[in-house]
């Protein structure tokens, strides 16, 4: 008997059938509590009062109207980009090229901002930039989808590599054809007519992304396209069985996704940066994957999650300046928070079964 017990692993995993929604939320809230507690650790180690640090994060992100505006500015591209990748992820097409698609959109928008600012009125210029950015981002997204549909290439690697290509192109533009003052390696600032108007103290990109939230919600839940995407994500065979053209739907969805990323690129260059540089996407394309996952691809939940991440980002910037903690410490805190929140999904989907104690085994065998 004793030799048999050795073979039972200490803990094993089993997939849960289903779970009480209240319990699910208890696990989610619990994970945030654990994350906050764990996040205190690096602050202790660096000799800071963790309670004070959390207070600074909150007040640094939301304490003054100007802070709130800055926080929202961080949230806008995160939210927009999470919306863009949601249909791809729903389809189980792993688009991690949002970074590049944003940049492609930003380049197209910048072209018109730099060359057409004195040719057409401001709102026409902005409209042209918007459309150009959408198409450019869309094409950058379409390329990997085309290869996937035709030759079943790996979309993860493909979209990732496309990021580096387009960022390289911006670097070349910066130092070459679009360089402002010779040797500066900087593209000149946009003319005022190529800048997004400000509404309630923040560039109107926030209106665009909120409209996108509603459109995306409708698209995913009430349209034929949304249904096709959901079926493909569940089973490609079922989609073929139902008469769907999987390749074409993939390409169409990636064009849409890239197009929305392009819009985000447009918002970032015209609303926030007023110029183009090779760091225009600034990691948004990757962080938004977290936003999309944490919100379980629900468009409205993305608003909350992106604001939450923006609060953390803005707050920890303040933390750096106020408590003189190194930037890496606040990155660690953010990392811990994300880790806990993402891993709680694991406990929602799986349960742990521990090895019964020896006495129990004996009782059972009697």
């Amino acid at each position: 008997m004793s030799s048999e017990t050795v073979n039972i692993p200490f803990v094993r995993l089993a997939k849960r059938e289903s779970m009480d929604p209240r319990k699910v939320w208890a696990i989610r809230i619990g994970s945030i509590v654990i994350a906050i507690l764990l996040g205190m650790l690096p602050m202790f180690i660096t000799g800071n009062n963790p309670f004070k640090a959390y207070q600074i994060i909150i007040s640094g992100a939301l304490g003054k109207p100007i802070y709130i505006k800055q926080t929202i500015k961080i949230a806008i591209p995160l939210l927009g980009c999470a919306l863009a990748i949601a249909p791809c992820f729903k389809m189980r097409f792993w688009n991690i090229g949002a970074e590049g698609q944003i940049t492609a959109g930003a380049i197209a928008a910048s072209y018109f901002a730099l060359n057409w600012y004195d040719k057409v009125p401001s709102f026409v210029l902005l409209a042209i930039m918007f459309i150009a950015a959408t198409i450019a981002g869309g094409i950058w997204g379409l390329i990997p989808a085309f290869f996937k549909a035709k030759w079943n290439t790996n979309e993860t690697l493909f979209t990732l590599m496309m990021n580096y290509i387009i960022i390289g192109i911006v670097s070349w533009l910066q130092g070459g054809p679009w360089e402002g003052r010779k040797g500066s390696q900087i593209i000149p600032m946009f003319n005022d007519s190529a800048r997004l108007p400000v509404v309630f103290g923040i560039h109107c990109g926030w209106i665009i992304v909120l409209v996108l939230v509603i459109l995306m919600h409708i698209y995913m839940n009430y349209t034929k396209h949304g249904y096709e995407i959901a079926v493909i994500g569940d089973s490609e065979n079922t989609a073929r069985y139902a008469g769907m053209n999987v390749g074409r739907i993939m390409m169409r969805t990636m064009f849409l996704s890239g197009g929305i990323c392009g819009i985000i690129g447009f918002i970032v260059v015209t609303g926030a940066n007023h110029t183009l540089y090779n760091g225009v996407a600034n990691g948004v394309g990757f962080t938004s994957i977290t936003v999309a996952w944490l919100s379980q691809l629900n468009a409205f939940a993305m608003i909350l999650i992106s604001i939450m991440l923006a609060i953390l980002t803005k707050g920890s910037n303040t933390l750096q300046t106020k408590l003189k903690v190194p930037a890496s410490i606040s990155d660690i805190v953010i990392g811990i928070l994300l880790f806990c929140m993402l891993s709680c999904e694991f406990f929602i989907n799986y349960k742990l079964i521990f090895r019964p104690r020896k006495t129990e085994i004996k009782e059972a065998s009697v």
Binding site: N237, T238, R240, N245
Partner: protein, 512 residues
């Protein structure tokens, strides 16, 4: 004599939930002999051998080696006992070379390529294999991969080799080569078990045949003292009466004409070979055959899901016109007004969307209907409620994910949707697999009802008793060929069993 016994299994029982896969089986494997383990699909052959290979442990019973009780807890244990199994689906790492795969997982081995290569060569020479140790798996043909699997097992010093349907994917020439190797190994004193359901190979290669049927051990006979007919009788058993209602539809008419249908898979293996038949409105045409004889390809090629290499598929309209279906996509077939319904074998992986509720699944047929970009949810919702009601599907709501329903209810959702499309042809693949008796009868009744409405029903099944009582005619497939089409009211189980394993059945075998 006794020292001749390599492995003895006594009273082995294995259950999966309520299903008894092996029911108190006794089996003796002898050194220097080739034993065929024969049985229909689901008779428990692979399960039994998996217990020797350490993949499962028996619930009851004991395994003995050389008279000593043996406990095999893992594949590693099995190797230590000198047992090696070559699974039906090869377990090789594609990007590694043959040599790397052969030593994979061996801890004590010095990873010295020279020694490995010479040892591999020694094994190859001994049994007349041909293998290039430095060749990558992805560059290999199926037969070469199989050779690597066999060498891998021998390298680990196995004296007892179990091969699970080794010839299923081989060409006749490759099969002959494999048999030569097996004979060489037998001469070397190895004990060999091949799991199979091909009678001609059983007769060609084995010394003894052990037969399983529905999880039970039927008996072991010497190959030289038996005949294919006797083996078939052991395999299929005597007919069981099920009392399935079988009314006759009087005005049958041709509905689907298939001629010379030939399909080839990605690897160039012929899956369907010149299949010709006519399905009639108002009849249930059964399709019998060993698993993998082309049933899946037959249905999928008719519905436009599997590429057709040669042949014609024509739908006959009510007016008697013939419409060609070859080369059309499922959507095109639907658009030309050919009312075709298909209940695929893989219910959740092909017929349904597991994460959606009944409504979402009803939409799979109608999602494209209506103008504009928006989905019409209303009529699928009504249909879902109707199916829920009429077929008594047990589900909390029409939005509850069908993945979480029981197998019988999943099938009701699928069959209900397909029948609701008012098809002219209804194709079903293993529609009662995994269902309890009551649900199975409910499905039989639904199919018969369709038949009496003049629908042409094609029923791919595995249980011969059911096929014989439910269908009007039975088409028997054997290795992608039509072995024969018989009248289900007069045919016998033995007759069909024989046709499943030999093209043309008994008469053809007698001529040979």
């Amino acid at each position: 004599m006794n020292s001749n016994i390599a492995i003895e299994m006594r009273g082995i029982t294995k259950r999966f939930g309520k299903v008894v896969a092996n029911d108190s089986i006794d089996l003796i494997i002898k050194k220097g002999e080739i034993l065929s383990l024969l049985g229909e699909n689901g008779s428990g052959k692979t399960t039994l051998m998996n217990m020797l290979a350490g993949i499962y442990q028996p619930d009851e019973g004991q395994i003995f080696a050389e008279g000593e009780p043996l406990t095999i807890r893992s594949p590693k244990d099995a190797y230590e006992c000198g047992i090696g199994m070559i699974h039906q689906h090869y377990k090789l790492v594609d990007v590694f070379t043959a040599a790397q795969n052969i030593v994979l997982g061996l801890k004590d081995e010095k990873l010295d390529l020279k020694t490995i290569n010479s040892k591999v060569k020694e094994i190859c020479d001994r049994y007349s294999f041909i293998i290039d140790p430095s060749m990558k798996i992805y560059d290999m043909s199926v037969s070469q991969k199989q050779t690597v699997e066999i060498v891998k097992v021998l390298y680990r010093g196995a004296d007892i080799l179990i091969l699970d349907e080794p010839t299923a994917v081989l060409t006749p020439q490759e099969t002959e080569k494999l048999f030569t190797v097996l004979r060489n190994m037998r001469a070397d004193g190895k004990a060999i078990v091949i799991i199979t359901h091909k009678l001609n190979e059983v007769m060609a290669i084995s010394d003894e045949v052990a037969v399983l049927r529905k999880g039970k051990y039927i008996g072991t006979v010497k190959t030289c003292e038996t005949s294919p007919q006797a083996l078939t009788d052991m395999m299929v058993g005597h007919a069981v009466t099920l009392n399935i209602d079988r009314p006759k539809y009087d005005s049958q008419f041709p509905r689907l004409k298939v001629e010379g249908l030939t399909c080839v898979d990605d690897e160039g293996i012929t899956k369907l070979d010149g299949v010709t038949f006519t399905a009639k409105g108002g009849e249930i045409l059964g399709v019998a055959g060993i698993a993998g004889s082309g049933q899946k390809e037959l249905l999928e090629s008719i519905t436009g899901l599997y590429p057709i290499k040669q042949g014609t598929v024509d739908f006959v309209t009510d007016e008697g016109k013939e419409k060609n279906l070859v080369g059309l996509t499922p959507m095109q077939i639907r658009k030309t007004g050919v009312g075709m319904a298909f209940v695929p074998e893989d219910r959740l992986g092909m017929g349904l969307v597991g994460s959606m509720g009944m409504t979402g699944n009803m939409m799979l047929r109608s999602w494209k209907k209506g103008k504009g970009v928006f989905l019409n949810r209303k009529s699928p919702e009504e249909l879902a409620k109707k199916v829920w009601d009429e077929l008594e599907v047990v589900t909390p709501s029409t939005s509850f994910p069908v993945r979480r329903l029981s197998g019988g209810n999943v099938q009701k959702v699928l069959v209900g949707r397909e029948i609701a499309s008012l098809p002219k042809i209804l194709m079903t693949a293993y529609p009662v697999r995994g269902l309890d008796i009551n649900t199975s009868y409910a499905i039989y009744n639904l199919l018969t009802e369709q038949k009496m409405n003049g629908v042409s029903v094609i029923f791919v099944g595995e249980d011969l008793d059911v096929l014989l009582e439910l269908c009007d005619r039975i088409l028997v497939l054997c290795g992608g060929k039509v072995s024969g089409i018989v009248d289900a009211r007069t045919a016998t189980k033995e007759e069909i069993g024989f046709m499943m394993t030999t093209v043309g059945g008994k008469e053809a075998a007698d001529v040979q």
